[in-house]
């Protein structure tokens, strides 16, 4: 097999942002969180990603502010490095190399890390050297046998002691005495510790437990005489605890997705912020106590203003347990569409790596309860123009029969979102196996075909508007069943429309049937036993006369529809066959021995254009071609198939991967270097439009300020010193005065250039100076 060096598989987009506790900057303007192999800096007001701190080569496992400089941040990663960043500018300051992989990070005056392999808490003294790369050798173990979860370790009273919990043990280590106390107050049951928080002013430690209780521990300086009180509101495990900076309130969150605020010392008073969307995994408070943030299990960070109002939501790609809808591309927004929150579809922009919105499909209150069967979105399909969206939701109870709903959504231009048009309850008697829209963009009628395990496929068509008269309210057109088809009682597994919408292919087990969608005549049957048809695809563009099918007996067949005969067939165990709508190319994923191979080919010839062995480990469960915004101009034959569209795929471990060419990566790196952003304003499309203009404006403003005050000029002197009653008319003076304010162009440019040179020369000496400089500049614009 030929190795294609310049195409490689990369992670792009959709990384987890709820993996570790986020950090809020001192001025509450930024929120930093670990996201895959980088640290992302979000604006807490606009929810936009301001910077991405790239550099780690492993997963980032912890982010913390540097106590001595609040504009710098430490991050640690599984690659064995701790990095110090200047996050307002997005500049890497220091790199420390370390053996082993760090799992988390907590900071006092010195840095303290948890070692991964041994689950040991280690203190690292950072040597004060100006070098970029520092090898830290000075390690000292503080605690052993700690949990891998960083929320089980906390510093109390400004770093006097350290508290750690693991399973049923709690350990408190006093730095001054260099002594630790161990408590094992419970014998077992559901009292396992889950998280810990220390009061910032008082000698009090709060712990969360598996049974939903919160315990406040006092008097722990002696081994025997400790006391504790219990708070109970959560019905299942408390996942995160946090004290506000002044210690007046305790925040707790759990699977109920309710943020509970307890008053310290008045524990029966509590406030709730319910319906935060998903189970809370982390709770943090900004250093000034103005903002709270909660991380949620659905890859979301919510920013809350003083426990009453949700002010911002930073949402990443939601990855549930399984993606049943598969990967789809919204033809209108080019967003990736897949299952999101329970009962929702998410629209994720791949270009901007941002979740656009969630579409509520089920429209029911989500009740979290173990063992409760929820409605789930299992199928979704877009029509070619993006005007219609069809979704299927189902709920299977153990005793009752399957509940199915087919919903059709129309795109509303005014609200720019999908509006429910028709709900068909129980469209089929059994699970729907496949669903597709007629692909022809210019046809008058839109047809949806759904195939089900009950042995039928149904065609749904948009009916004419109901006969309306003046007395009735207007009802728009709605969808209704047009045709029910079956073939010898076999179960249809897949269906596919041809590119021009003139043919429908339905795979009934071993037989492929071809139908005419206008008259619903059975045109022909194609079969290639043995083996059930798994995937069906019509060729595109110049190959539209071919129909490809793969079956579960390791065969791929290509039929010529003009002659209704087999063109070619080959032996491949294809698990996924998909077609690129922008070109003739087709991609086939073959699963072999725990890894997946990819073949890209044209239907007209059974010869791969591109193939790669072992694309990823595990099965590829879904894949999709997404159209590119800007076409690539690659002339190499092997990478030409990536010119018009990108191939994204999802593995069984829920990793979203894509193929990237060398040229593309270089382009991306170049663009990220170019991107210099004013840190006070988030990068929004609006900013990109107006920001440049403002920059120029800002420069002018500064130069005007730097010019010698015009009072020295003769005209001004005359104007100010002459008594008013002897002055000529103001209209006469005006033009003269205005002229005196003008400065010659050459003079200004020289001054500005000089100023920027100065700035560049001392940029690496002190970054906080630069920050002040930027603030000055914003002040000027505001004043103007």
């Amino acid at each position: 097999m030929v190795e294609y060096g310049d195409i490689r598989v990369v992670y792009r987009g959709g990384s987890k942002i709820n993996f570790r506790k986020p950090v809020i900057s001192n001025d509450s303007r930024f929120l930093l969180c670990a996201s895959g192999e980088s640290v992302k800096v979000f604006s807490s007001v606009t929810e936009e990603c301001v910077h991405e701190l790239r550099g780690h080569t492993g997963q980032v496992t912890g982010v913390l502010l540097r106590p001595s400089n609040h504009l710098q941040v430490y991050s640690c990663s599984t690659d064995g490095t701790v990095r110090l960043w200047d996050f307002t500018d997005g500049i890497l300051v220091r790199v420390k190399n370390e053996k082993g992989t760090f799992r988390t990070l907590v900071v006092k005056q010195v840095c303290v890390f948890v070692f991964a392999e041994l689950f040991q808490l280690v203190a690292v003294n950072l040597p004060q050297t100006p070098d970029q790369l520092v090898e830290a050798r000075d390690l000292s173990a503080v605690l052993s046998d700690v949990s891998s979860n960083p929320s089980t370790i906390a510093f109390g009273r400004g770093g006097e002691y350290l508290a750690s919990v693991n399973n049923l043990k709690m350990e408190i280590y006093f730095f001054k005495k260099n002594k630790s106390y161990r408590f094992e107050p419970f014998n077992g049951g559901k009292n396992t510790f889950t998280c810990i928080a220390c009061h910032p002013k008082d000698d009090c430690v709060a712990t969360g437990h598996d049974d939903g209780k919160i315990r406040l521990w006092r008097n722990f300086k002696q081994k025997k005489e400790y006391t504790y009180s219990t708070l109970h509101w959560h019905h299942s495990a408390v996942s995160s605890l946090c004290f506000t900076p002044e210690g007046t309130n305790l925040l707790s969150g759990g699977v109920e997705s309710v943020l509970v605020q307890w008053r310290y010392n008045q524990e029966n008073q509590k406030d709730f912020l319910p319906r935060l969307g998903a189970a809370i995994t982390h709770v943090t408070v900004s250093p000034d106590g103005a903002l709270f943030s909660t991380s949620h299990s659905d890859n979301k960070i919510t920013i809350i203003q003083s426990c009453v109002k949700v002010s911002a939501v930073i949402q990443g790609l939601v990855k549930g347990e399984n993606v049943t809808t598969g990967l789809l591309v919204d033809p209108r927004s080019k967003a990736l569409v897949l299952n999101g929150r329970p009962g929702h579809l998410q629209f994720y922009s791949l270009q901007r790596d941002k979740l656009l919105f969630h579409l509520d499909i089920v429209q029911q209150e989500y009740i979290h309860e173990a063992g409760l069967e929820q409605f789930e979105v299992v199928r979704a399909a877009f029509d070619a123009s993006g005007l219609w969206l069809a979704t299927v939701e189902e709920r299977k109870q153990k005793s009752a029969e399957l509940e199915l709903n087919l919903k059709l959504w129309s795109f509303d231009e005014q609200t720019q979102s999908f509006v429910l048009n028709t709900t068909v309850s129980a469209p089929h008697e059994a699970r729907i196996t496949a669903m597709c829209f007629s692909q022809a963009a210019d046809s008058q009628t839109t047809t949806l075909v759904s195939a089900s395990r009950d042995g039928h496929f149904k065609a749904w068509q948009l009916g004419l508007p109901a006969h309306t008269d003046g007395t009735q309210e207007y009802e728009g057109p709605s969808w209704s069943c047009d045709f029910v088809g079956a073939y010898h009682g076999l179960v249809p597994r897949c269906c596919c429309f041809s590119a021009d919408g003139s043919l429908l292919a339905v795979g009934f087990q071993e037989v492929v049937t071809v139908w005419n969608p206008t008259s619903w005549e059975l045109l022909t049957t194609l079969s290639q036993p043995p083996g059930d048809v798994r995937n069906l695809c019509f060729g595109q563009l110049s190959c539209s006369k071919y129909l490809l099918g793969s079956n579960n007996k390791k065969m791929v067949c290509c039929w010529n529809l003009l002659t209704c005969s087999l063109e070619w067939s080959t032996s491949m165990d294809v698990s996924l066959l998909l077609v690129d709508s922008r070109s003739e190319n087709m991609a086939a994923f073959c699963c072999q021995d725990g890894s997946t191979d990819l073949f890209v080919f044209k239907p007209s010839e059974p010869r791969p254009l591109f193939s790669q062995k072992a694309v990823c480990s595990g099965r590829v469960i879904h894949a999709v071609f997404t159209p590119r915004e800007v076409m690539l101009e690659s002339s190499e034959e092997s990478s030409q198939w990536l010119n018009r569209s990108q191939l994204y795929f999802l593995t069984e471990f829920m990793d979203l991967l894509t193929f990237s060419t060398k040229a593309e990566e270089e382009k991306l790196m170049a663009s990220s270097k170019q991107l210099v952003i004013d840190d006070t304003v988030a990068m929004t499309p609006f900013y990109l439009l107006l920001g440049k203009h403002r920059h120029e404006h800002l420069g002018n403003e500064e130069s005007a300020e730097r010019t010698p005050l015009p009072q020295s000029s003769v005209a001004i002197k005359e104007l100010l010193q002459t008594p008013a009653h002897v002055l000529p008319a103001t209209s006469f003076l005006c033009s003269m005065f205005a002229k005196s304010l003008l400065i010659s162009v050459t003079e200004t440019s020289r001054r500005v250039g000089h100023r920027f040179n100065l700035n560049n020369s001392d940029s690496d000496s002190n970054s906080s100076f630069r920050f002040r400089f930027f603030e000055d500049m914003t002040c000027f614009t505001r004043a103007s």
Partner: protein
């Protein structure tokens, strides 16, 4: 942030006939006034002049009724035998009628005795009408002839002997005084011009013709005979335009409404059907108690008069639209000032805004659901008003409780009264196909929970026995329906055998199976 999502009340498809403008229009009549006549009512004719009295020909009498009277204002009784076809002249002054004894009589509407008698026919005269010239009478008789008479002299002007069977209907043109059309039991319609000696046009209806109707424009002719109503285009030389077969017995009478947009046909099958004259689809249907012989529509559709074989005359008057408006007083509302209070306040530059969050309005049951009070939520959903007027809401709440897995908790712990209310609801809506799946699980859970106390309360036992009987009945119906489906399957398979391949038979017959069964079931259970 996400707020509480209220329970979804599904927009269920409405069963039964669709409400259209036509149904609203034709249902807007009062309950019929029924008058017993002496025999079968064979003809109804409205006077063309106000106050639009109508002549009702029944047995040996002709009664003239006023528009609102229930007693005849005038009666003509001087017939020796059964009278036929009492019709007004265009000025409403004269009335002509045929008779079984072959004599045609002319009356003054004010007088009593016949003004003239026209003798010449040899058999019963079933058709008599004035021509547009006002001085001639057209008659047609069972002696196969039709004749024109001069009114003042009582002289026969012309006789046409072209029909070969009884002539039972005829109509004169309103635009041309020489033109008239007759229909006969020999299946033909003939157009005559009194200036020529022969018929000018002949059309074959195919059935004995019972009734004729000319459109106001006189371009189209409608004929009724047998089960068919046919429309002919006279301007195209009598070309058939449409043939309607919506009745299952002989159509006896035709009428047009005042606007000419709707055609009415009455039949011996006890129905009056209303057609749209643009597409000839049935838009409405009236049911009557007996076979209908005659039908009349007052000008402006003020009343529909129907005469039946059981000698009942049924008069339906139009509802007056102004009446209900006067009774309901407009509710006093708060003044404009109250609503506008503070709305037009313009904030100053440095004012601090205190925004008030918009409160979400929730229905009573949703409020209880939000608090997880499942039993109370079910109670509120079972309130009398909701239960009767909007069963879909109650069912939606039960479904929501089931989805939350708390239906069992909500149903448990109820006393006799509450349980009987619940069972009443279940029984009342069990066979509404839209609700059956939900209510079946409800009934199952109720039986599970309360099986230990069955027999302790007479009321509950009665309900349960009732439910059981209903279920048995329903199962019986369903079985019957399945049998019918099986029969249909074989019939379709047989009819398709010659044309199409075996594959297609299979799915065609499947298609029939997927025709919605609901309307069938509902009809059967209500009968």
């Amino acid at each position: 942030m996400a707020s509480f999502k209220p329970t979804q009340i599904p927009d269920l498809p409405k069963l039964g006939e669709k409400i259209t403008e036509d149904t609203l229009y034709w249902k807007n009549y009062k309950a019929p006034v029924q008058i017993k006549e002496f025999g079968a009512v064979s003809n109804i004719d409205f006077s063309p002049v106000s106050p639009h009295n109508f002549a009702v020909t029944a047995f040996t009498r002709i009664h003239i009724y006023g528009p609102f009277s229930q007693e005849p204002v005038k009666t003509f009784t001087r017939f020796k035998d059964t009278a036929y076809c009492g019709r007004f002249r265009s000025d409403g002054q004269l009335l002509v009628a045929g008779c079984e004894d072959s004599v045609v009589r002319l009356y003054d509407v004010g007088g009593k005795a016949a003004l003239r008698m026209y003798k010449g026919h040899t058999k019963a005269v079933h058709v008599a009408d004035f021509t547009t010239g006002r001085y001639q009478i057209l008659t047609a008789s069972d002696d196969y002839t039709c004749r024109l008479w001069d009114i003042p002299n009582a002289v026969e002007l012309t006789a046409y002997q072209e029909h070969t069977d009884y002539v039972r209907c005829g109509v004169t043109s309103k635009l041309n005084r020489d033109l008239f059309i007759t229909g006969s039991y020999d299946h033909t319609l003939r157009v005559f011009d009194s200036r020529t000696e022969k018929s000018v046009m002949t059309m074959d209806h195919g059935q004995p013709v019972e009734s004729l109707l000319l459109y106001p424009s006189e371009g189209l002719l409608v004929s009724a005979g047998g089960r068919y109503v046919k429309v002919w285009d006279l301007l195209k030389g009598g070309q058939p335009l449409v043939s309607l077969k919506n009745h299952h017995k002989t159509v006896t009478c035709l009428a047009l409404n005042s606007s000419g947009q709707r055609l009415l046909s009455a039949s011996l099958d006890r129905h009056v059907k209303v057609y749209n004259t643009t597409n000839y689809k049935v838009v409405h249907n009236f049911d009557y108690a007996a076979a209908i012989l005659s039908l009349g529509l007052a000008p402006d559709d003020e009343s529909i008069v129907v005469g039946m074989t059981n000698s009942i005359l049924s008069i339906k008057h139009r509802k007056n639209l102004e009446e209900p408006k006067e009774t309901s007083k407009p509710r006093r509302r708060p003044s404009y000032r109250v609503f506008m209070k503070g709305k037009n306040f313009v904030p100053k530059q440095d004012d601090y805004f205190v925004s008030k969050p918009a409160r979400q309005h929730l229905a009573k049951y949703d409020k209880q659901l939000k608090r997880f009070n499942v039993s109370k939520a079910l109670d509120t959903a079972l309130e009398a008003w909701l239960r009767r007027k909007k069963p879909e809401v109650t069912v939606a709440v039960i479904k929501e409780l089931d989805r939350r897995g708390t239906l069992k908790n909500a149903l448990a712990g109820r006393d006799e009264e509450q349980l009987s209310r619940l069972l009443c609801f279940v029984i009342g809506n069990f066979f509404d196909t839209r609700f059956t799946p939900v209510l079946a699980t409800t009934a199952e859970i109720v039986l599970d929970i309360y099986q230990c106390v069955i027999g302790q309360s007479a009321v509950i036992d009665r309900h349960l026995i009732h439910l059981q009987k209903l279920l048995e009945k329903e199962i019986y119906y369903q079985k019957d329906l399945m049998e019918i489906l099986g029969m249909l399957d074989t019939m379709f398979a047989f009819s398709l055998l010659r044309k199409e391949s075996v594959d297609q038979i299979m799915f065609k017959s499947k298609m029939i199976k997927y025709e919605p069964k609901q309307p069938f079931i509902v009809k059967l259970t209500t009968n």
